[in-house]
Symmetry: C2
Subunit: 215 residues, 2 copies
């Protein structure tokens, strides 16, 4: 069976995966780029932006696992864009330009479905109103035997964890206190009992935690 | 000037430093011993209990810094005991037996002062109703040039951090999700801006974070 994976999902010390006040100008709200600073330095991120540069240390070792073996992504609607409620403008095609980084089908969870959007480079956004298990069944079919990535945000990862649908969770702990925003861990008491947990600190200051399902 | 230090202060991934439901039988509430498992294996803990045993790795390196150079401790009343409100029984002398591990003056913050208690081995419990700065002034005087340890629990550490009175904070992150209890990080947004932060993972599974005040 294909695996369900979460990669590079970064939270603050107080457990927030995004700040408050997401807008078109501030995709991460008041957190701005602070959660993802560790990622910006990696070769994986640099190469997404056409740069032949970036680090090759432990941050890169984790970052680079994001793509290989993935056949589809599931993301929450708040990761796709800053709009809320019914779509007033179907021109919005995500934050990622004409040729998004995904290169696979991407299932966007929303209570307001709209027609699929086929982008350059193999990315197609599908908009579905579905519970986690049902969304996963669709994504698995589209992934054609490859793994499915749960792309975030916090509410989406939390729902899939609560439904016990995640096989491999990579959480990055950024040494900052955000104070407010969207919490990852709420409602997941004793989550660790279902996983083998490892951690490793990076010279960049973050700590990488991996949760591998044991049952 | 003597330093104000916090050592071995352990929180869960979701930021709780103690569980819910502290009682005489369950000093850590529903968290039981899970937060402090990393500490039980160290030589420092073992020697507190008369055992000539325990680990000598990174957990011990941090754990052993708890005592040296400390001349007084400040703790919250909930660390001293499970009672709440006015003392109905002044027989309670803490969780630590006749010869407590502190061997210094210990200032217990409470809205219900009571006479000091002199124990064996140099520990004296003083009960004071004071704001952080005032409590620190008293503890510094008692410490006679040595450092002052803020011993917890979460509310006490949080108050001293909010008042910017902590020079060195050692937080241990346990890879568990407690779900409920007493949060450390609330109200401390952007705390990291006042500190240099380092982290190191231990084979025991915890991550040690140190916050060293930079201004």
């Amino acid at each position: 069976m294909s695996q369900v994976r979460v990669h590079n999902f970064t939270v603050s010390l107080d457990g927030f995966a995004a700040g408050e006040g997401q807008t078109l100008e501030s995709p991460f709200g008041h957190a701005q780029g602070r959660l993802m600073e560790w990622f910006f330095g990696t070769q994986t991120f640099q190469s997404m932006h056409g740069q032949n540069a970036g680090s090759h240390g432990v941050d890169e070792a984790f970052a680079s696992n994001w793509g290989p073996g993935i056949g589809a992504e599931i993301m929450g609607r708040n990761k796709f864009g800053p709009q809320r409620g019914p779509w007033t403008d179907e021109e919005w095609k995500g934050w990622w330009g004409d040729d998004p980084v995904f290169h696979t089908p991407v299932f966007v969870l929303t209570h307001h479905p709209r027609p699929s959007i086929e982008m350059k480079g193999g990315t197609t956004f599908h908009f579905i109103d579905a519970e986690p298990a049902e969304a996963l069944a669709q994504a698995r079919e589209a992934a054609d035997g490859l793994d499915v990535r749960i792309g975030g945000g916090a509410a989406t990862v939390r729902q899939f964890l609560a439904a016990d649908l995640i096989d491999h969770l990579h959480v990055v702990l950024a040494p900052i206190v955000l104070g407010r925003g969207e919490r990852l861990w709420d409602g997941l008491e004793s989550l660790e009992e279902r996983f083998a947990v490892e951690s490793v600190a990076s010279p960049s200051g973050v700590t990488h935690l991996t949760f591998t399902r044991t049952r």
